[in-house]
Subunit: 156 residues, 2 copies
Amino acid sequence: MSTAHWNPHASRRETLTIGELAARTGKSLHTIRWYEKQGLIPGVVRDGGGRRTYVLDHVGWLQFIDQLRMTGMTVAEMRDYAALVAQGKKTLPDRVEILRDHRDTVRKRLKETRKALKLVEQKLGFYSTWLETGERPAEIPTLMRRPKKPNGSKKA
Amino acid sequence: MSTAHWNPHASRRETLTIGELAARTGKSLHTIRWYEKQGLIPGVVRDGGGRRTYVLDHVGWLQFIDQLRMTGMTVAEMRDYAALVAQGKKTLPDRVEILRDHRDTVRKRLKETRKALKLVEQKLGFYSTWLETGERPAEIPTLMRRPKKPNGSKKA
DNA sequence: GCTTGACCTTGAGTTTACTCAAGCACCGAT
DNA sequence: ATCGGTGCTTGAGTAAACTCAAGGTCAAGC
């Protein structure tokens, strides 16, 4: 937008261009357009020249769906959620349900990840001790000790 | 394997077939073969018929790389790690470094995810309150209030 | 000796979430 | 009038991690 240079915060305009939205959210123009095509961004209006115009709420919205993404929600799920948002407050119960489910899913995944991390840390501890003492600290077999023969038939 | 039916735990054989390994690790045959092709599974020996034979350590190994996967390590990184493992104990320092770096990465990601989750929970709380009280609890703007006109030129 | 079940290989297909390229339109400034 | 900066659309390309299909092999039981 031509005014962007000397009016970088668009202080006296209520709408944002896609470039400004990108700058404020850290998303690329590509991504924002793609998100829109995926149905993730309701309420995008075009100006006379066919360009997208956004409002400040869109910044918050993009930030919010970014939280959803960071917690592992898929674009498909976010699309469903966005569709509900676009339908107004009558969909509040559905939205609450989705968010609750998602929260539970994330908590579960966090738990699993922490567990897996603990095991990795164990292995790390094992290796570290081994490295420090020069002695293999027993416990936690790692890999690759073969018995005598593979059991199978000979070729001829 | 022909003996699999009546000897499901292969108790008196030191090697496992790919099917047995799959059963014990929850991975599919496809995935195990693919992992091997990716260089994730050292020490796989073929029997006279060309079939892969595994040892019990492979079960532990697959479980371990599953921990790495669950904590977000990529297959490419695991390949590097596996290559070090295959080179024996002289690579211990490198392995320790990799695991340490990975641990730090995971911790960081966990932190970010928890933060994002908190924000999602905030939104959820906001919605829940709104739903219970019937009153919008102020705070946390969500989306879509438009000013009067989109600013742009008219078509003609 | 034939069927069956477990394996084999190669190569293609799938899903998710972008990311980029090409070619054109618009608008404000000079 | 034109030019640079933004923006537009369509469609293709990418990367990761599988997943599957087709067609063939092998060893054992009947």
